[in-house]
């Protein structure tokens, strides 16, 4: 695989790369995380002027929104965009492309090995800047920072799948190795042929990530078994989702929930008085808004096999329901029965759109 080595830190190196792409006109815009000057607040920024590039912190462990959501329409604008995506954002975007919610055609997808992101409450408290040095130290040692999202701790897909450009930013780094950039597509090789740095050929040394992989797998098991304990059976579900206030924030920030309007918020589930009367006549009481479990279980049937475990849903839940853990755990099961891995390959078809003539012999 072609590679470029820039004798700088990964975060500086990637800025060079973006500058090169934008200044040479290879792309019209750059999408990446930014720290707003002076405020300590974070957002996702689309930059077209080279002079604004310096505000970008593309590798920052912050996800204010799953970038795949905002990228959908942008990617269809016809403009060439270099988008710096976390591996889960890239996978989510691939899932969206499969659902006609975006296109890879005009994109340069840039992703990196990911150490996980901070939960939004830490971001909101303005602590990111302060926490960064320690984060970087822990991540470059191939360990899991204790203060990242739970689903990040348990994420096993921290190496990007199929990004045009991949930057090495996690795992055990050898001192002085510099910023390693891997070019996975002809598009990337062509665009970066003139980029400064040492051009060569290299593959990501996965051994440097083994430690992290093992740790992540252990965390995953821990997280899933705690969910299994707490959220098992009807009682468990009532216990966990009983706190739900029905804001549907989880679906709104979900990159896989691409629907223009969520069905569960539509008139289909907008009951009128007679419905309530009937139910009340039978049960004597009714929870409002209704259909709490139907919403969550319905969403599980709609999207769980495509869940990339980004963790946005848990972060926005006002009452602290571990939505992401529940969904990625069920998602792992539902995807596995179809041998599916969300975001792996844009040509891999969504399991409920296809079938095999002979499968699931145990059913029916």
């Amino acid at each position: 695989m072609s590679s470029i080595t820039i004798e700088k830190s990964a975060s500086k190196g990637i800025n060079d790369l973006l500058r090169h792409l934008l200044s040479t006109g290879k792309v019209d815009a750059v999408l990446a995380m930014r720290m707003m000057p002076d405020t300590g607040a974070w957002d996702l920024a689309l930059v077209t002027d080279v002079k604004n590039l310096k505000e970008l912190k593309p590798l920052a462990p912050v996800m204010t929104v799953n970038a795949s959501q905002v990228l959908s329409n942008l990617s269809l604008s016809g403009k060439k965009i270099a988008a710096v995506l976390k591996p889960c954002e890239l996978r989510a975007f691939v899932e969206r492309v499969k659902r006609e919610q975006g296109s890879l055609e005009n994109l340069f997808t840039i992703s990196h090995t990911c150490g996980g992101v901070f939960p939004l409450d830490l971001v909101a408290e303005g602590k990111v800047d302060r926490l960064l040095p320690k984060y970087e130290k822990v991540v470059s040692a191939g360990e899991i920072p204790s203060n990242i999202r739970d689903t990040c701790k348990a994420c096993e897909h921290f190496i990007p799948m199929n990004a045009d450009i991949m930057v090495s930013a996690a795992g055990e780094c050898k001192p002085g190795e510099g910023c390693m950039i891997y070019l996975n597509s002809d598009k990337a090789r062509e665009a970066l042929s003139e980029c400064t740095g040492e051009h060569g050929s290299a593959v990501l040394d996965s051994t440097s990530l083994e430690k992290l992989a093992t740790a992540r797998a252990r965390e995953r098991e821990k997280l899933f078994s705690s969910i299994e304990k707490d959220c098992s059976g009807l009682d468990g579900l009532v216990n966990i989702f009983g706190k739900c206030v029905g804001c549907h924030g989880c679906s709104r920030v979900c990159p896989i929930c691409y629907c223009t309007l969520c069905d569960f918020e539509s008139i289909n589930f907008d009951y009128n008085l007679p419905y309530f009367e009937e139910h009340l006549a039978r049960k004597g009481a009714l929870r409002l808004p209704p259909d709490t479990m139907l919403f969550h279980m319905g969403r599980l049937t709609h999207m769980s096999f495509s869940c990339v475990g980004c963790g946005m849903c848990s972060d926005v839940c006002p009452v602290g329901i571990p939505v992401a853990a529940v969904f990625s755990r069920t998602g792992e099961s539902t995807a596995s029965i179809f041998d599916y891995l969300p975001g792996r390959d844009v040509t891999e078809e969504i399991p409920v759109m296809i079938f095999k003539e002979e499968e699931f012999p145990e059913l029916g």
Partner: protein, 141 residues
């Protein structure tokens, strides 16, 4: 509570095979459990996974989905989709530790009156053993 448990099984039956098979069971005077509450749909593939959830959450003790045998779908490929969607819902149930036995998929052809009666009886028995659906008791859902 010494009231006799009367299972209620919401049964989505495709018009062309399973519903016809159920009719044949009746025409042949095969006796089966009254717990089966039939509901005709054009094709088993009309049954949105959300229907299964809704039937379960509304207190059906069992949910039966009957379609043409794989390969026999009146609409070419509908039941293949049904099977995938059913597998999906069942997996969601299993991962959440819910009683996935409360969902059943069965392929019953138009000439399988005896099979319909047998499935009806066997499934009722299975549900009887499983007991009442706990969702019946919960107002939370």
């Amino acid at each position: 509570m010494n009231k006799e448990f009367k299972p209620r099984i919401t049964s989505f039956l495709c018009k062309w095979c399973s519903y016809t098979g159920a009719d044949l069971a009746g025409t042949s005077r095969l006796q089966y459990s009254t717990s089966i509450i039939p509901l005709q749909v054009m094709c088993s593939s009309r049954v949105d996974p959300v229907f299964l959830l809704k039937a379960y959450l509304s207190g059906s003790d069992g949910v039966l989905l009957g379609g043409c045998h794989p390969g026999d779908c009146h609409y070419e490929t509908g039941n293949y989709h049904t099977r995938r969607r059913f597998a999906l819902v069942k997996e969601v149930f299993e991962s959440l530790g819910l009683e996935s036995e409360r969902l059943k998929l069965s392929w019953i052809s138009a000439s399988e009156g005896p099979k319909f009666a047998r499935v009806a009886n066997e499934y009722t028995e299975e549900i009887r053993k499983l007991g009442e659906n706990p969702t019946r008791k919960s107002i939370f859902l």
